[in-house]
């Protein structure tokens, strides 16, 4: 009897279906490749997932308003390279990180301004910004990795606390902050409202443009955190860092049940969505599936998630 009620409770969670999917996937992979469950492997998977999830939580707020950000991957690289260059020039590491964050946030500010106040479509603005920011990275680095990175910073970024990688701890902190922003603050309420009905929100007296601009800044800021963590991870700032990650970030949100039309989505869902992608990618490697097939499978999963979302909406209407 008691078990039943627990199951029932589980079923009432919005995220229960994808959580179940994640567990099933992990089971299947463990059966085929038992190495998956080893402590070392889980550590690597968790770390990889954390990078995507942090960037994903940024684009999450943008998607909730009904927008999109394709410049995530380039912002990851730019923030990393600015941080790395500063360290190379002997700037205090903390200041270097700050500069990296500012550089990233600045990109978000431009994105947000063009989308909200000038009225250009988000897809186009951020597509252009994807190239501009990546171009800026190449201009700064001329294509070479920046490798004179502060050793203390590397040690911190590659380290762990009670067996949990630093980046995972940072992901948890950012997830908690995101949860609070979304569910407890005026800003979060307004983000959801805009995604639900932008015109009604505007006519309610909400400064919709300002809120939308802020989501792009948050998005770029979170992507920058990922970018800076990656510098520590590779002990160098790479101009190719984050290439294609905008898709992983967006996919994490979609697989996690965030509606691309805006208005609905949860932080926990996004984390599980990111985990599903990370686990599958890792599992495919462990199961010795060819790299070509890996890419194919990842795409399939995104489309399946999108179909599930459409079916869900159709049923509720």
């Amino acid at each position: 009897m008691k078990e039943k009620s627990i199951l029932k409770k589980m079923g009432s969670f919005k995220e229960s279906a994808i959580l179940l999917a994640l567990i099933l996937i992990m089971l299947v992979i463990t059966i085929i490749a038992p190495k998956f469950m080893s402590g070392r492997n889980l550590y690597l998977v968790a770390r990889q997932v954390s990078y995507v999830v942090i960037a994903g939580l940024g684009v999450f707020f943008i998607i909730l308003t009904g927008g999109i950000d394709l410049s995530v991957g380039s912002v990851i690289a730019l923030a990393g390279v600015v941080t790395g260059k500063c360290m190379e020039l002997g700037v205090n590491p903390l200041l270097a990180i700050l500069f990296g964050l500012i550089a990233g946030a600045f990109i978000g500010l431009i994105n947000g301004y063009l989308v909200s106040y000038v009225g250009v479509a988000a897809f186009i603005v951020t597509l252009g910004m994807m190239s501009m920011a990546r171009g800026a990275v190449w201009i700064i680095t001329k294509g070479w990795p920046v490798s004179k990175i502060d050793p203390g910073f590397i040690a911190f970024g590659q380290g762990s606390f009670m067996g949990i990688p630093t980046s995972v701890i940072i992901m948890i902190i950012i997830a908690i902050i995101s949860y609070i922003i979304l569910n407890k603050t005026i800003f979060g309420r307004r983000v959801l409202a805009i995604g639900g009905n932008e015109e009604a929100t505007r006519l309610s007296g909400v400064d919709v443009k300002k809120v939308k601009l802020q989501t792009y800044v948050i998005g770029a800021l979170f992507a920058s955190i990922t970018g800076i963590l990656l510098v520590a991870r590779f002990s160098s700032a790479q101009s190719t860092a984050g290439e294609g990650w905008e898709m992983d970030a967006i996919a994490a949100a979609v697989i996690g049940g965030t509606s691309l039309a805006g208005g609905s989505g949860t932080v926990l869902g996004l984390i599980i969505g990111g985990a599903i992608m990370g686990v599958i990618r890792n599992g495919l490697v462990l199961m010795k599936v060819s790299v070509y097939w890996q890419t194919f499978v990842m795409g399939t999963i995104i489309i399946i998630a999108a179909i599930v979302d459409v079916m869900k909406n159709r049923r509720s209407n």
Partner: protein, 498 residues
């Protein structure tokens, strides 16, 4: 012998509990131009949608050319030669005239490609027949609206229709273009095509139609030959009814001091030099036909659309309103006409909808929402407005229209406004909820709130207002104090017959 092409008998149509049509009869003779005349909501469009198969479920029956028909969709009706031309253009501006005319029925070459040559030639034939000068190869968006309207008509003509239904076809045309349209309508009539002409413009009705069928509140009032009709008669037929007891007027008189003043406001799309004063505790009604510019004027006042010129004064002090947020700060609340599109966030709870305009009031530590306070305020309005819901956490989409409207009202009242603008507040809600909304409006005014009430139902504005302003084509064309209220006079100002 004249024969009836269409005979509609005892047509009845409900929307939920609302009766839109009750036992309506309509005959259409071959080669006749019939006008359907009536106020907004009289049932003209509904009747035509029954005829064209848009509403396949209705009571009563109709015959087309002697046999009983029951169309399941516009396609069926089109097949039998009944075509409707809608008020808004249903064309693709990026395509050419010929491509628009043949959209959906493109002639094909043997190889299966579109036969452009044939399409252009055939389009040209129709254009010539109507004595028009349009190049079928031109892109539609480069042509004036009137020409586009002609294209819409030609598009309907290629399938050899027997009846054309035109829903306010002249609303966006200049007087010269209207003449052009009438020439074509007469030509079609000569060719034996019947036309149902829906319009509010009495001059046009008198000029072009053979017969006028007046509807009111979803029932037949009269069918009269146009040559026996005149403006006064038609107006009295349109409005002639008793004020219903739905609208109980308030007992306390409004204040005399001016609270809010609008001076010479002009702005998009067509508001010209509008000025009026609103007194404290007054219910100021705005009457007019759909499209007269009442909603548009309110949007300028509320900051939903930017005005070009003009000023607002609150208590004699000038107000600068650039966006809705400024209006809310100044204590102006607006309940929009389109609830679903402009007022509610369907997926959100009643509570979250209701507090949408007062985030600054339920703030904690600068950025957080004080959910306790939100709950207190929400349950206060749920009680005051008797909103029927199991819980304030219920998504608003699960409520009935009337209860949704009360939530929107609560949202507006929560900002503790000086002025409440209500745009068609009872549209799409049932009679019971309507009476309740009116009771609430009266109570609020008695408590000293100034209210602007827009309604297209004359009895509603007349029943509730202390004073009525009438708008016509973007301008204020009439002002009536309560002791001068007269349905016919107001309708005259609304259709601008002097």
């Amino acid at each position: 012998m004249e024969t009836n092409l269409v005979e509609m008998k005892k047509i009845t149509k409900h929307f939920g509990g609302v009766k839109a049509l009750t036992d309506v009869d309509l005959d259409i003779k071959r080669g006749e131009i019939v006008c359907l005349l009536g106020e907004n909501g009289a049932g003209k469009s509904t009747l035509m949608k029954v005829l064209t198969g848009v509403y396949p479920e209705y009571g009563g029956e109709f015959t087309m050319e002697g046999s009983v028909k029951h169309y399941k969709g516009t396609h069926d009706a089109g097949h039998d030669g009944i075509k409707m031309i809608f008020q808004e253009l249903n064309l693709c501006p990026n395509l050419t005239v010929a491509e628009n005319i043949y959209l959906g029925s493109e002639p094909k070459t043997k190889a299966g490609f579109i036969n452009h040559k044939l399409m252009i030639k055939e389009s040209g034939k129709f254009i010539n027949q109507l004595g028009l000068d349009i190049d079928p190869r031109h892109t539609l968006s480069n042509l004036p609206i009137a020409t586009q309207q002609m294209v819409e008509i030609i598009k309907a003509l290629i399938s050899n229709p027997k009846i054309l239904i035109m829903d306010e076809p002249t609303s966006s045309l200049s007087s010269k273009e209207i003449e052009q349209l009438f020439v074509i309508m007469r030509k079609l009539k000569e060719n034996g095509i019947s036309i149902v002409f829906i319009s509010h413009k009495l001059e046009e009705v008198m000029e072009i139609t053979d017969r006028v069928v007046v509807l009111r509140d979803g029932t037949n009032i009269k069918s009269i030959d146009t040559k026996d009709a005149n403006h006064d008669l038609l107006i009295s037929l349109m409005v002639g009814r008793e004020l219903s007891s739905l609208y109980t007027h308030r007992t306390t008189p409004p204040g005399t001091e001016v609270l809010f003043e609008v001076k010479g406001v002009s702005g998009p799309p067509m508001i010209k030099d509008a000025s009026f004063k609103l007194h404290k505790g007054e219910i100021l009604g705005f009457a007019g036909l759909v499209g007269a510019g009442r909603t548009e004027l309110m949007k300028l006042i509320y900051g939903g659309v930017k005005k070009n010129s003009g000023e607002f004064y609150m208590n004699g002090k000038r107000l600068d309103i650039k966006q809705p947020a400024d209006a809310v700060k100044a204590g102006i609340a607006y309940v929009p006409e389109n609830r679903k599109e402009e007022a509610v966030i369907l997926e959100m709870s009643i509570k979250n909808n209701l507090t949408m305009s007062i985030h600054d009031k339920v703030k904690r530590l600068g950025i957080f929402l004080d959910k306790g306070q939100e709950k207190t305020i929400t349950s206060g309005y749920i009680d005051q407005l008797s909103i029927k819901t199991p819980s304030m956490f219920q998504a608003i989409k699960n409520l009935s229209g009337g209860n949704q409207q009360k939530v929107v009202l609560g949202k507006s009242l929560a900002i503790e406004p000086n002025i409440l603008i209500l745009d068609e507040p009872t549209r799409g809600i049932d009679v019971g909820a309507k009476a309740e909304v009116h009771r609430i409006i009266t109570e609020l005014a008695d408590e000293g709130l100034s209210i602007i009430l827009i309604s297209s139902e004359l009895p509603e504005v007349m029943g509730s207002s202390d004073r009525i302003l009438v708008m016509h084509e973007g301008s204020i064309t009439g002002e009536f104090n309560r002791d001068e209220f007269d349905q016919e006079e107001i309708m005259r100002a609304a259709v601008k017959v002097c």
